[in-house]
């Protein structure tokens, strides 16, 4: 199934690349979206089955696949808006769409990849396409951001590759040559723990570049400052999920061995450090997008800790991941609308957005409340569960420390967001250039209300899927 999907997406992207008419591009994108959605439904129906040799429709993949499908619809819509607002050459637009298609396709593959090496390849592919998309605006800053991201993530992926080498070595010593997670899991407890440790730490450090988690978070932050907002929306949600999948699957293998406790400590350390760094950097940020970039870092830190403390934490972590995807995506869509009012991304040059674009302002307020994981946002529920898990696992002091940091984050966020919303507007807005319509913000409202709904009373199949994903852990 995935094989067909991949082929189709490659064909679509190529034909978009060489398409002469915009209408054709639109049609093809619609076709792709349909393929995308249908794939996630098929995956849901054929849950647990192995697909085209190296893939498997497992619960986590399905959940994230659905998330990606929903986001890709919105992303395509907002991409059209984004491209409308700036004058780009047809060529650039074509490149944009085709690499967007390929990006989504490779991420989809990554979710379902059932083989360590294959997953690694998919992630490498995402690097390639996301790089092209980051570079889309062709400015000096874009070039810098792209270079940093490309370089750092190549190093990261290389490090991850070393990790995978060690994993394979550990597997070889038990006589396994095919590196499918199934096999690795089956022999996990016979593996040499030292090798596993090295493998895990390297994979974590390597993929942290995509996860925007400490240690290799920094390049992604700079990239998100520049990338087009629809791309940001994918980059800090679906791409994060990809890296999460990679680490989660490795973690599952570890969890079957005596190395578990060690790995959990590592995760706690990285999580806490990430949140701490995010906080101290947030006190200094001056650009809007950087603020949201660091907030993703904070959320990923929470997820890591949730994964580390275990028990309720596993459920909370995945819940948090999904909710964060929706919320952060909707924020970046809104940012796209904001950018056309104000020349620069610097917060000090913005203001009075609530008057300029009331509906958007409303959406932004809701976004802000949600991303700060204040009720009714579902993020509150997941974060609450995480903290419950932390305290239940006896790390009360970590919880208190985190609460302190989160308070600071709330302060910083409110300060900047309400400056954007209510401070007096900059003088140099040319209103005739702005083409904004209220229903642009509809997508955000839908996503955010979805988060609220899933947070307050999640439907049965949803919880079942999450439990299925974490079943092996407890």
């Amino acid at each position: 199934m995935l094989f067909i999907y991949t082929i189709t997406s490659i064909v679509i992207s190529l034909s978009i690349l060489f398409a002469k008419k915009n209408t054709l591009t639109k049609v093809l994108s619609v076709v792709f979206i349909i393929a995308q959605i249908s794939l996630s439904f098929i995956a849901f129906l054929r849950i647990g089955e192995v697909d085209s040799l190296y893939f498997k429709f497992d619960a986590l993949g399905i959940l994230l696949g659905f998330v990606l499908s929903i986001l890709s619809v919105a992303t395509f819509y907002h991409s059209t808006l984004y491209l409308k607002r700036h004058e780009f050459s047809r060529r650039q637009e074509a490149i944009y769409y085709s690499s967007l298609v390929m990006l989504i396709a490779s991420m989809m593959n990554a979710y379902f990849a059932e083989n360590v090496a294959l997953l690694w390849v998919c992630i490498e592919a995402t690097t390639l396409f996301i790089t092209i998309l980051i570079f889309h605006e062709r400015t000096k800053e874009a070039l810098e951001a792209t270079w940093k991201y490309l370089f750092i993530s190549s190093v990261g992926v290389a490090i991850a590759f070393i990790g995978i080498l060690f994993l394979s070595m550990a597997a070889n010593s038990t006589g396994i040559t095919n590196l499918s997670y199934e096999n690795l899991l089956s022999v996990a407890n016979q593996m040499n723990t030292n090798w596993l440790k090295v493998a895990f730490i390297l994979i974590l450090a390597g993929y942290s570049v995509k996860l925007s988690l400490f240690p290799l978070y920094a390049a992604a932050i700079d990239a998100k400052t520049i990338a087009p907002s629809p791309i940001n929306a994918l980059m800090s949600t679906a791409l994060v999920n990809v890296a999460f999948v990679a680490i989660f699957r490795t973690f599952i293998i570890i969890s079957q061995t005596s190395t578990m406790a060690w790995a959990q400590n590592i995760l706690i350390i990285t999580g806490v450090v990430s949140i701490f760094i995010a906080t101290i950097q947030l006190t200094r940020i001056q650009r809007l997008k950087r603020m949201y970039a660091f907030s993703s870092m904070k959320h990923v830190g929470v997820i890591a800790i949730g994964l580390a403390v275990g028990g309720l934490g596993y459920y909370a972590a995945i819940l948090h991941l999904i909710f964060h995807s929706f919320v952060k995506a909707s924020i970046y869509y809104q940012v796209g609308a904001i950018r056309q009012f104000f020349k620069t991304g610097w917060i000090k040059d913005t203001g009075n957005y609530f008057k300029l674009n009331p509906v958007g302002g409303l959406a932004l307020i809701l976004c802000e409340i949600s991303v700060l994981s204040i009720p009714p946002s579902g993020l509150f529920v997941s974060e609450f569960l995480t903290f419950k898990a932390i305290i239940m696992s006896g790390h009360l002091y970590i919880a208190i420390f985190l609460f302190l940091l989160l308070t600071v984050i709330i302060y910083v966020f409110s300060k900047n967001t309400y400056h954007l919303l209510f401070a007096e507007a900059p003088v140099d807005i040319d209103y005739d250039k702005i083409k904004t319509v209220p229903y642009e913000s509809a997508s955000q409202f839908i996503l955010l209300f979805l988060v609220i709904y899933l947070g307050i009373s999640p439907p049965q199949f949803f919880t079942d899927l999450i439990y299925a994903a974490t079943a092996i852990l407890n």
Partner: protein
């Protein structure tokens, strides 16, 4: 059945955003009234029936049905909330007229929406028992009130204050959350209020109660947790400050009471703790109020004072339970709970009238007002009513609740032990002092705003507000006088509420003759006034009534406003007494000897809240700047970015080698 309507009303709030400006208010009012009627029916059912509590499923929450429970306590709070919100909603119409053109459709809709949701969330706060649902709705309450506070968003100051408010509310919620989780983890009861009972049975309650108290106390505004309150209330529009100060801060009291219902041992130190904090809040709150020039800020400090009075009642009640002195327990709790109602009445009245003054004169600085009673007689009289009531003077409601507390204290003096007696000594002297200071403060604020002659031309164009803004004051005034004259009506419901905290509620029956005595005396008082007034009128009819200027020591040159007393000078002799508490700074230039023709001199006084300065602001700023100093990691250099990962790997390697993780 009616639960369906309740839900529908909640859903219909979203319609606001699609309505045109001029219908939004009426839609909001309609929803308010429907919610009020439904929930009040529940409350009355629960309060005046002898069942323990009403309970029915509300929504599906994580698969299981989420019940709402209305026992006597909840019912009481429901009624208080509903009444105040009703008056607030009525008052809002007039108050918001000036903003109608300034604000766009969405902004207004958001305002009404938040007001509705403040109402709904407060109702649900007192009805939910499940901890998570409670936390969610608790935060919703904070958010909606925050959105209401920043309504006048044009002002930079407002936003600052709003953020301060939001952050502090979040801290409070975090404390509550931690408390719940700790109780859950330590005892493994169900994750709800009822689960607390399991914890309290087996553990010493003080620590957990302390955490809860901090969490709820921030909302309630006990000193030193109060620092959001004197800023948020002035910043908010007046109908909002009325509701916030009238009922929202009482949600903190509700929380404390709710937690207390589950504690049945080691109560003494808890009671003592509450009492001490409350006495401090009461005395300091009113002292700080006296030196304010901003009328709404002044009223905000009075909210702190009244929270203190409520706390005194509750604390004494708890001590009564602990020491097994039924009369103290019953009257203490009854007084405290009754004062919740009373304060919600006169405080909202004061805020509404102050709001009307602000709307007509566009200033909250009382130094610029004066003589308004001639321009706005009705407003002035209602403010006077509120002032008399909040000063706890008979024959108004404020006196009744304070009287309950006094009665409890004096009746139990003899039977109580030594330490309790000393505690009581301090309590009633403190309560007396608070009452006296309140009188001092309200003679000042009333006479400076409404009496004498105008101190600035802002007063000149002021006119009486339209009847729409007076009407809610009539409702409140009626309640104030009713409670003042017929307190015995409240005995039965109060008894049923107090029975939650202490089993033996017979002492409240003893107080009925006393209450009758009070009502009779009040009646006689009115009659006496009437008689004297008639005599006076009759006497003056025969005499010539002349007009002459106020006696100015024979000096009739300048206009009287010049040598009229100001708020500053009125508060000065008190300020000298308590200069360390309220630290007033004076800014002025001395006259020099050689100054033959002195130039224009100016005199300013500022008072700042020492608790806010030294307990909240200084540490917070220090912490924040520290963090800021640390935030240098994002250098933009690839080398550094890689360096982090290398260091990370090395550190982990070492830690692993050394077996530290």
């Amino acid at each position: 059945m009616d639960i369906i309507f309740f839900k529908i009303a909640i859903i219909l709030t979203f319609v606001l955003f699609f309505l045109p400006k001029q219908f939004q208010y009426y839609w909001g009012l309609f929803l308010h009234i429907s919610i009020i009627s439904i929930s009040s029916i529940w409350a009355v059912q629960s309060l005046f029936s002898d069942v323990q509590s009403l309970s029915f499923p509300f929504i599906l929450f994580f698969g299981e049905p989420l019940h709402i429970e209305i026992d006597k306590l909840s019912a009481f709070f429901l009624l208080v909330i509903n009444f105040t919100v009703l008056t607030g909603a009525l008052y809002a119409k007039g108050y918001l007229i000036p903003y109608f053109n300034k604000k766009n459709k969405i902004e207004l809709a958001l305002h009404y929406f938040s007001f509705l949701w403040l109402h709904i969330s407060m109702l649900l706060v007192v009805m939910f028992r499940d901890a998570l649902a409670f936390l969610i709705i608790w935060e919703l309450m904070s958010i909606s009130s925050f959105l209401l506070v920043i309504f006048e968003s044009e002002k930079k100051e407002t936003i600052k204050i709003g953020i301060k408010y939001l952050v502090q509310m979040h801290i409070g919620a975090v404390f509550i959350m931690i408390a719940f989780i700790l109780a859950f983890v330590r005892s493994g009861g169900e994750f709800s209020f009822d689960g607390l009972a399991v914890y309290f049975e087996s553990h010493n309650p003080f620590l957990l109660f302390l955490i809860f108290f901090i969490g709820f106390g921030i909302k309630a505004g006990f000193i030193p947790l109060h620092s959001w309150l004197p800023h948020a209330h002035p910043a908010a529009p007046s109908h909002v400050s009325g509701v916030m100060s009238g009922v929202m801060i009482k949600m903190g009291i509700y929380g404390i009471l709710r937690v207390l219902t589950y504690i049945h041992h080691d109560l003494f130190d808890i009671g003592l703790f509450i009492l001490i904090i409350s006495l401090i809040s009461g005395v300091l709150g009113v002292s700080l109020a006296i030196v304010q020039h901003d009328v709404k800020k002044l009223l905000a400090y009075h909210s702190i004072e009244n929270i203190g009075i409520i706390g005194i009642g509750i604390g004494l009640g708890v001590i009564g339970v602990a020491k097994n002195i039924p009369v103290l327990a019953v009257l203490g709790f009854a007084g405290g709970i009754l004062h919740v109602l009373n304060h919600s009445l006169f405080k909202s009245l004061l805020f509404y009238t102050a709001g009307s003054v602000y709307r007509q004169t566009h200033t909250r600085n009382i130094e610029q007002l004066g003589g308004l009673i001639k321009k706005m007689p009705k407003t002035a009289l209602f403010f006077l009513l509120g002032a008399l009531a909040i000063s706890g003077l008979p024959p108004f409601n404020g006196f009744i609740s304070e009287f309950f507390i006094y009665a409890g204290m004096f009746k139990s003096l003899h039977s109580a032990g030594l330490y309790t007696d000393i505690i009581l000594l301090f309590s009633f002297s403190g309560l007396v002092l608070i009452g006296g200071l309140a009188i001092f403060c309200f003679t000042k604020v009333f006479s400076i705003i409404f009496l004498g002659t105008p101190r600035s031309n802002k007063v000149a164009q002021a006119t009486e507000v339209e009847p729409g803004m007076i009407f809610p004051n009539f409702l409140i005034g009626f309640m104030i006088i009713l409670i003042g004259f017929a307190p015995m009506l409240l005995v039965k419901p109060l008894a049923s509420i107090v029975s939650i905290f202490t089993i033996d509620t017979t002492p409240i029956q003893q107080i009925i003759p006393t209450l009758n005595g009070i009502s009779i005396s009040s009646g006689i008082f009115i009659v006496l006034i009437g008689i004297v007034w008639i005599l006076r009128a009759w006497q003056q009819k025969k005499q010539i009534i002349k007009q002459g200027n106020t006696w100015g020591c024979g000096y009739t040159g300048a206009n009287p406003a010049l040598h009229q007393y100001t708020a500053t000078s009125y508060a000065d002799n008190f300020g000298q007494l308590s200069s360390h508490l309220v630290n007033i700074k004076k800014e002025y230039k001395e006259f020099k000897e050689n100054e033959v023709f002195p130039k224009e001199k100016s005199f300013e006084t500022h008072s700042s809240d020492i608790f806010e300065d030294y307990l909240i602001l200084t540490p917070a700023n220090h912490f924040y700047s520290r963090l800021k100093k640390m935030g240098v990691l994002q250098t933009g250099k690839i080398q550094h970015y890689l360096l982090y990962s290398l260091l990370f790997l090395i550190v982990i390697y070492l830690l692993t080698i050394l077996n530290w993780i």
